[in-house]
């Protein structure tokens, strides 16, 4: 579904990703783990087209998407929950969730269906729906960002440390919810970065370890976990 091929990214002249290749298969669930500063966020941003590549390619559905502008990737069914939440403060939680789907031009009924699905999956969001996003707590914001990514991620969902700052009980519930999601939509591919790999053990089928911008371990690591 989504693939990075020998991707090289420099930020401010310094190499941040060096020759990173990873594959997110259709319906797969891939974890990208690594220490702080290893390059996880950067890898996700590269997939989303939010920063320029110095080398390598991004493939979506097997097609070269390196030159596809960032805003088009969402249209290809890729949802993204950034690490620092980045909600639209003056909108309500509901409006935040709806916006990407509306931008895609989905039918009203379809949007409603998806919103209901998300509210069932993440019931906390339903109670927050009419609050302004500006006032949310750290964890609440994280949940909304997750929900927003799920609204459009019909093919792939990229989650940057989705459980960071969540109370453990919630983190576990959400991990379970993601599992459910995959069960009911077997086509959706999940990519989760995490600096705390314990949470992911039961969820993922492939794990890539990234270190100083290089993939040091893949696949094999999953067997260990």
């Amino acid at each position: 579904m989504l693939e990075l091929q020998s991707v090289v990214v420099d930020i401010a002249g310094a190499p941040v990703l060096r020759d990173v290749s990873l594959t997110l298969p259709r319906g797969g669930c891939v974890a990208l783990i690594g220490r702080n500063g290893a390059g996880k966020t950067t890898a996700l941003r590269a997939m989303m087209g939010l920063l320029p590549l110095r080398g390598g390619r991004v493939l979506i559905e097997g097609k070269d998407a390196t030159a596809v502008p960032a805003h088009h990737r969402a249209r290809l069914g890729v949802g993204y929950a950034p690490e620092e939440r980045r909600l639209f403060g003056v909108f309500t939680v509901r409006q935040n969730l709806l916006l990407p789907a509306e931008v895609l031009g989905l039918a009203k009924s379809e949007i409603g269906r998806r919103l209901d699905a998300i509210f069932t999956l993440l019931p906390e969001l339903a109670t927050l729906a009419d609050r302004r996003a500006a006032g949310l707590s750290g964890g609440q914001g994280k949940m909304v960002a997750l929900g927003r990514a799920l609204m459009v991620g019909t093919r792939a969902v990229l989650l940057d440390e989705p459980f960071q700052g969540l109370a453990p009980v919630l983190a576990q519930r959400y991990a379970a919810a993601l599992r459910e999601l995959q069960a009911s939509f077997p086509d959706v591919a999940l990519l989760v970065t995490e600096s705390n790999p314990q949470l992911l053990t039961s969820l993922v089928d492939t794990t890539y370890v990234i270190e100083r911008g290089e993939i040091t371990q893949d696949g094999a690591f999953a067997a260990q976990g």
Binding site: I11, A12, G34, R35, N36, G37, A38, T41, E83, E84, E124, R131, G135, L136, S137, G138, G139, Q140, K142, M143, E161, Q164, G165, L166, A167, P168, V169, L170, A171, Q172, R173, S195, N196, P197, Q198
Partner: protein
């Protein structure tokens, strides 16, 4: 032990949301108090009220016997209360080292226009501090070029640089990778203990709580629902169900 900080009946609501609904809490001198609780329970709000970012709608806060309710952050910091942030607050155009040096300068007085910020004494102190947090290799990196986890550490380092007597930390370990977390907290705890600093920290990682907290306060919907030593609290079935979840790893 005497109470260093005492909150009585703190109340604060945002519209209909009660973020603090009668908080009573006494923080003892030199203890490490952990705050846990579901998201949106009002943990950050409590820290914000103590440090003067938010003014409570009711109740009082006393620090070292003096009331500090509703005072401005600046005054509160000068009394020896420092904090770190859930979302790191760094000076993005300064290097990590300069960030730390600014905090040191803030402690020692910044009103000297004739000596550079990175004067030897301050630079040495900054570097020593950064070293403890494993940040020394990044000392000359600009803060906006840091990844999230590192930002978090730098943020805590800046609060520590103020040499407070009471340090409030908002999720100090969230975003810090699992492999580094324990080592960092270990060092932090040592530094604080050595200096006799009282610490209040919001935490979602129960391993950290179990290992470092002297007492744990459990927050829920703007109230403290349980308070006690970690062994007792973490074993409490209600707390387990509401906060910790069943799958806690040993």
């Amino acid at each position: 032990m005497t109470a260093l900080l005492e909150a009585r009946g703190l109340r604060l609501a945002f519209g209909g949301v009660k973020a603090a609904d009668g908080i009573d809490l006494a923080v003892m001198r030199a203890e490490f108090l952990a705050i846990i609780g579901p998201n949106g329970a009002g943990k950050t709000t409590f820290i914000n009220m103590v440090t003067g970012y938010l003014r409570p709608q009711g109740g009082t806060i006393t620090y070292e016997g003096a009331e500090i309710t509703g005072r401005r952050p600046r005054e509160i910091v000068r009394r020896g209360i420092a904090r770190s942030f859930q979302l790191p607050q760094l000076f993005s155009e300064h290097t990590v080292e300069e960030n730390a040096a600014l905090a040191i300068a803030a402690r020692q007085g910044i009103w000297s226009p004739f000596v550079p910020l990175l004067r030897p004494a301050w630079r040495d102190e900054a570097r020593e501090l950064l070293d403890r947090f494993g940040l020394l290799p990044l000392a000359t990196r600009r803060a906006d070029a840091l990844n999230e986890g590192t930002r978090k550490l730098a943020d805590i380092a800046m609060a520590v640089a103020l040499k407070p007597r009471l340090l409030l930390m908002d999720e100090p370990t969230s975003g810090v990778s699992a492999s580094e977390k324990m080592a960092v907290v270990e060092t932090l705890a040592r530094v604080l203990r050595e200096a006799g600093v009282t610490a209040v920290f919001v935490e979602h990682d129960m391993d950290v709580v179990a290992r470092f907290a002297d007492r744990v306060a459990v927050w829920s919907q703007g109230r403290i629902v349980a308070l006690g030593p970690p062994a007792q609290i973490l074993a409490d079935p209600v707390v387990q169900r509401e906060v910790i979840g069943i799958e806690r790893h040993a």
